[in-house]
Symmetry: C2
Subunit: 259 residues, 2 copies
């Protein structure tokens, strides 16, 4: 009888089976390496939900920057990012105080800070596993979102594919995942295999020293605590949409044409 009581702190062997479910990760803590130096890592924590939005702000800001904007107000940036300005300011405040009251934020400064916080000053080499339709598409993304995430290894189990270059990279065999990932310093593994293969692939990626997994296969992966998993699940997305259609139909009652 496992008492639910004591699973709070001792993470010892506790081996929680729960895998991060997209939004299951609580706020992340991070050392605030603010300019103040000296002081040791005062650990500020950025809510997980905010992190996702920071990435969006960064993209919007980059676009603004390219169009020559040098400064931007929270209201403007918020609108462009599809959030309200209070939330935006709160989110940005987690980085520190980089705005100017009465004026707004300097675009370049904000971009730099966001890149720093998001760890984009470093390269993250990506491996794509499963070169089917989706994997092929991902491999051809060629350097994923605006560099910073170069695809440097591809894997599949199909003998006809092994050695064939896709997007400039030859496909290796699934068995070689640990070795190749290790050699090439892969830090992010993208799983685009059929569901039954996903767990094995994940295991091998972990063996190869991969720290993060982006999982497109509709299965719950079991990985060690130090590996971060995010999941993209098309079926779930569609079903959520379906739910909203259904709910709407019920709410409206009869008379409404619903597809």
């Amino acid at each position: 009888m496992v008492s639910q009581r004591d699973r709070r702190n001792g993470s010892a062997v506790a081996r929680k089976l729960s895998t991060p479910d997209a939004d299951n990760a609580p706020t992340a803590e991070m050392p605030a390496v603010t300019e103040n130096g000296g002081e040791e890592a005062r650990v500020r924590s950025i809510p997980e939900a905010a992190v996702a939005r920071l990435a969006v702000y960064l993209r919007v800001l980059s676009a603004m920057s390219e169009q020559g904007a040098t400064t931007v107000a929270s209201e403007e940036l918020a609108t462009a990012a599809g959030v309200n300005s209070a939330k935006l300011r709160k989110d940005l405040s987690y980085l520190g105080s980089y705005g100017t009251r009465g004026v707004g934020y300097e675009v370049a400064v904000l971009v730099a800070q966001l890149e720093r916080i998001l760890g984009l000053t470093r390269q993250h080499k990506v491996a794509v596993v499963g070169i089917g339709n989706l994997g092929h598409a991902l491999a051809n993304y060629g350097g994923f979102p605006g560099r910073g995430f170069p695809v440097e290894a591809l894997f599949d189990i199909d003998p006809d594919l092994i050695g064939v270059p896709v997007g400039g990279i030859p496909v290796s065999h699934l068995n070689d995942i640990p070795e190749v990932c290790s050699e090439r310093g892969i830090s992010i593994g993208v799983i685009a295999t059929p569901p039954p293969a996903a767990q094995t692939v994940a295991d091998r990626l972990v063996q190869g020293g991969v720290q993060c997994v982006l999982n497109f296969a509709p299965v719950v992966l079991q990985v060690p605590d130090h590996v971060e998993v995010r999941k993209v699940d098309l079926a779930v997305e569609l079903q959520i949409l379906s739910f909203h259609v259904a709910r709407r139909a019920e709410n409206v009652g009869n008379g409404m044409v619903v597809r």
Copy 2:
């Protein structure tokens, strides 16, 4: 013109820009149908976060069912779905009381209830817009996740693609989106175009009567209130992973490789 769901007393305030939903991964703002003004409002409101998990439970249950399981306990189902059992029971309780104390849930019953709640008893025809690498992959998914979501229209702007069948469906021109969607009764539009085209495509989908959009383009879409948008953003996913790597690296104390 069919009345597009009139607003409940309480929320008459808002009429600003249809705030496109933030993101789906970490959090989601709900269309706030919170209060059930009417007495007979049998539609218990289910938390958005729970809905996403219900879809996962359904998949796991379907697999269990195929393996011959007829009954399942919350602990078992929870483990398989990657959540804890308290959360699972709470989630299932939103559907009603379909379990048996001391025993567990009957798999078939639960599957049926989940399908009902998620609106899967009805078909949702899908259109894919943008037949590039990703769109191609999506189109070839052929009926998407285990039927219920048949792909019935494809669109692109490239003249060389128009008329060419992909996964059995000929590609139509972007301009024909409203007409074709309307004719074929498309209810879900999947946007896999380059970013600049996305908003225009969304507008046309809405014109064609589409109620839901799954957006792979990294832009914030503006749509009317009655249209539900969900977004899948690879760049954001990778950057969130990057954030966690960076945080971990800093905690460990070694310098970051900057280039």
